[in-house]
Structure formats: C-alpha cells, structure tokens
C-alpha cells in the first residue's frame, strides 16, 4: 500500500470530497433503478420525478414475477452463466498449465492464437453459429447459449490465468514429485488451489459475458420461449413507444442483484487478481 501522508491536508480533503461525490454520481443510476422499481405506477409516470418515494410498493415486482415463466427465465440465465463459468474455468486451467509449465513445439504459436482469438468480434459470428446450432439441433435450447460463450470466454481466461500459473514456483512442483505425487495429483491438489484466486478473477469475466448475453438469446431462442433468458423477460416490459417503466426497473433490479452479490463477494480477489494478472 502506498502511504500518501505527504499529500497536503487540504488537497487530501478535496480529493476525498470529490471521491465521495463521484461515488454518488456513479451509483445514482443503480439507485434510480431500485427506487423506480418500488415506486407506485403513478409516481414513475410523474413529470416531476422525485428522488424518494413516500409510498413504496411491490406492485412492479408482482407484475414481473406474475409474468409467465419469469422464474424459469431466471433459472435459465443462472444455468447458462454457471455452466459457462465452471466449464471454461476448468478448460482454461488445463490449457494455461500446458502453455506455462511445458516447453513444446508450437507453444508460442498457440499463445499468439489465443491472443488473436480474444479479438474476434463474436457478434459477427452470430450468422454462422446460427446455422451451426441449427445443424446440431441446438436451436431453442440452452446449449445454443452455453456452447458459444464457453468458446468466447476461453482465450481471455487462458491469457489471464497464465500469470497465476507462472507465479507458482517450479521448485514446488519438483518437491511434489520428490514426495511421490503423480502429475494429476500435483495438478488438482496443489496447483489448482494455488491459482484459485486467478480463477475467481477470470470467472467474473465469463459470468458477465454469459449473464449479459442478449444477442444470442435473441437470435438462437426463437420459437421455444421457455428456453429464454432474463434479457428477454425484461424486454416484455420494454416497448419503446410505451414502456412499463415499473416493470422494466423491477426486472432490471432482479437481473442486476445476483451479479452485484457475486461482485461484492469476490471484490478483494478481483482487485488482487487483476493486479496479479497484469503485473506478469
């Protein structure tokens, strides 16, 4: 930690005041979202919006949860995001181990390929993936959302985990083998726990990309709406000409809270994780 005691007092107070003001501004959209979710309908549609409400109500939430299959959409989103996180973390861990702890032909080529793969505009692949999912019989199933997201989160996850695997000293590996550990024992019982903070940091990115997915849900789930995800449920209330703001904000709140909880839980590891990944 830097000690900034040498920064003069009035400046520090000014800096702290501006940090607090900026925090309020940054948090304001979220506050307004939650507030609007609890406002009665008449108050949201008021042309004199007030930053508080005297009559909080659960009406909007009732409308959201009363919507056909909203719970199902929520569960679908959770299944998609969690599957993507777990599967891509495991695959990325193995791949990152391979490219950092082994010397073999094409290693550098592979690394460059992983780097280049990060740049692929996945949205542009919607068209071929649509036909591919159709041919695999995956259209209108959660598989059409899970499979592509695993592939898209892998390159970044491998690239990021590389730093964590590298940081584990080689001597530790040799000591493990001296003690008679097998390679797989070293991999799962020693290396895996050691790079776990890195896995947490990478899983934040894969969770977000899967949880936020709007384009694939819109393009690949076309007839069987029971396989849809939260963004689609939100759009039920959002009609550009005449949006049901209460419903949109309640659905948005329900959609944002799980990610928020996840972020707060992994906060420390995320900051140290990013530090570890970029220091390398």
């Amino acid at each position: 930690m830097n000690s900034w005691g040498f920064v003069r007092r009035p400046w520090r107070l000014a800096a702290e005041a501006s940090a607090l003001v900026i925090a309020v501004v940054v948090a304001f959209p979220l506050y307004w979202m939650v507030l609007s979710a609890f406002k009665p309908a008449g108050e949201i549609e008021s042309t004199e919006p007030r930053p508080w409400t005297l009559a909080p109500t659960l009406d909007s939430f009732r409308r959201v949860f009363g919507q056909q299959e909203f719970g199902r959409y929520f569960l679908n989103s959770l299944v998609v995001a969690c599957t993507v996180v777990v599967v891509s973390a495991l695959i990325a861990f193995l791949a990152a181990t391979a490219v950092t702890r082994f010397r073999f032909r094409f290693r550098t080529t592979l690394l460059i390929m992983f780097l280049v793969a990060q740049m692929v505009p996945v949205e542009a692949l919607t068209i071929p993936l649509f036909f591919q999912m159709r041919d695999f019989g995956q259209l209108n199933t959660l598989g059409a959302l899970i499979l592509p997201h695993i592939a898209f989160s892998l390159p970044f996850a491998i690239w990021m985990l590389r730093g964590f695997v590298k940081a584990v000293p080689e001597a530790l590996e040799e000591a493990a083998y001296l003690d008679g550990a097998s390679r797989s024992r070293f991999l799962w019982q020693i290396l895996f726990p050691l790079v776990f903070p890195g896995l947490v940091a990478t899983s934040v990115f894969s969770f977000i990309s899967a949880w936020n997915d709007f384009l694939f849900a819109k393009s690949f789930i076309i007839s069987d709406t029971s396989q849809s995800t939260l963004p689609m449920a939100l759009l039920v209330f959002y009609k550009p000409e005449d949006p049901d703001w209460g419903g949109v904000m309640a659905a948005s709140t329900v959609m944002t809270v799980p990610v928020l909880v996840f972020f707060v839980l992994v906060q420390r590891r995320l900051v140290s994780g990013l530090g570890g990944a970029v220091k390398d």
């Binding site: 940054v26 919006p49 193995l94 690394l111 068209i127 592939a151 491998i158």
Partner: protein
Amino acid sequence: MAAHGTVEKAAGRVARATAATRPPRTREWTPWIYLAPALVVLGGLLLYPIYQLGLISLFEYTQVQVSGGEPATFQGVGNYSELFGDREFWRVLLATVVFAAACVVSTLAVGCALAVLLTRVRALPRLALMLAALGAWATPAITGSTVWLLLFDPDFGPVNRVLGLGDHSWTYGRHSAFFLVLLEVVWCSFPFVMVTVYAGIRSIPSEVLEAASLDGASQWRIWRSVLAPMLRPILVVVTIQSIIWDFKVFTQIYVMTGGGGIAGQNLVLNVYAYQKAFASSQYSLGSAIGVVMLVILLAVTLVYLRLLRGQGEEL
C-alpha cells in the same frame, strides 16, 4: 519376446528412478492432452464459424437458400462490391470508428483519473468509490441501457429536470443519441480500467512517488513522467481491451436507440450486420460486414503484438 520384456521392465525401473527425482518431462504429448479440450472447443466454436463466415460472405445466401428452396450460388466478391458500393456502409463504418474512439478515450481518461484519485484518499471514500464502480461494472448491459433511458427520459427522467432542459429528447438527434450511449458505455466500462490501473499503481513502491513529490513535481508531472511509464504494460492491456469492447458495442445501441436510431442514424457495424442478416435475411451481406469487422480487429491485434514484442515481453 522374453528379452523384449526384460528391456521393458528395465526401462520401467529407470523411468521410476528418474521420476522420483525430477518431473516426468519426457512425455511429449502431456501438454497436448491438457490443451485438447480448449482446442476442440475453440476449433469447433470459433475457428470453424470464422471459416463459415468467410464462406457465406462469398455466396448468395438469403431466406430462399436457408430454407433450401434454391441452392446457394457462388458470388465471389460480389457481396463485397455491393457493400463497398453502398454509401450507407461507409457512413456506418465511419460512425463506428469515431464512436468507438470516443468511448475508448473517455473510458481511459475517466478510469485513469479515478484510479489516481483512489490512491489519494483514505479507506472510507475509497471503499465508497470502489463499491459504486463495482455496481456499475456488475450492471448487465441491457439493464444499464434501460436505466439510462429512464434517467434521460424527456417526460419522466430526472436529468432534464436538473439541467432545466424541459422535454428535450436525447434519442431524437443523431449526435445526442450517440452521446447518451457513450455516457452509458463509459459508465459501465470505466470500472475495469480504474480497478486494473489502481491495482497497478499499488504495486509501484511508494518511495518512488514520494521522491518525485519531494522534488516538487506536480500531480500531472508525476503521472506523465513516473506513473505512466511504469504502468505502460497495464495501460496497453486496458487500451486494447477497451478498443475491442467498444468497437463491438451491440446491446446499448440496439436497446437505447431502438435498433439503430431514427432512419438508421445511430447504426454501428455490429447492429448493421445484425439488421442485414436477421431483419432482412441478407445473410451474405451480414457476413461480409462481419468479415470487415474481423479484419479491422485483427489489424488492431497485430499492432498490439508489435507493442508487446517492442517491450521485450516473453510470450
């Protein structure tokens, strides 16, 4: 046979003996086993679709061909000449580049400034700003888009009241609509830059900064001459990530401007490709736009690789 068996046993003993003292590095195929799942997934769901994208862009591929009514006919570069001959494509391409550049510059400026600010304050204001930023980061693109629309709603939004703008509509004009989307994009993407750069500054020994400060260097000077050079690798990473993300913005434009704005005034390449492919079933034109995006981003990647190499980074 017998002799062969003995040799094998002997080899096994030797292998066991060496395995006890050093890792079994001899097996060439071990890394490939570890890599296999990643390569299968990436090959099947990234590489193959890219190949298909290129292929579709060379064919006549519309609703008739998709449903199997007519065979797909080879067009060569026909789709590309149609695309490049279309004034709208060039307008969208220019808008995409300018919009992405504005997003990247604003995100980096805000993110870096706030990262420096974070190091100047005590624990409580730091926690407040960090939590607010994590909140913005955690907000899904689609919910962020709708909330910002409500904030700037001409009738029900608080922003127009505070600014005294009456019922000014932000999404009506081309520039104000792009500006509104830019604000949302910066809001949800500066936290990544802020947290990463902050983590980077923390890893710099404080003596270096104290020395600069004692020598009477201004804050700007410290940033320019001490922090920025030491943070260069991190700045390169966040810049490249921002370019990639902002060049591909889809949800925010699609939701906030109602699918690309009035008369397509707020289209960016991604939304343009989507509209061409899925709204008007011109899959080959949509694919050609996708190929153009791919080429542009690959060019960015090459620049990135050269930067990494220039820093002497070992891959």
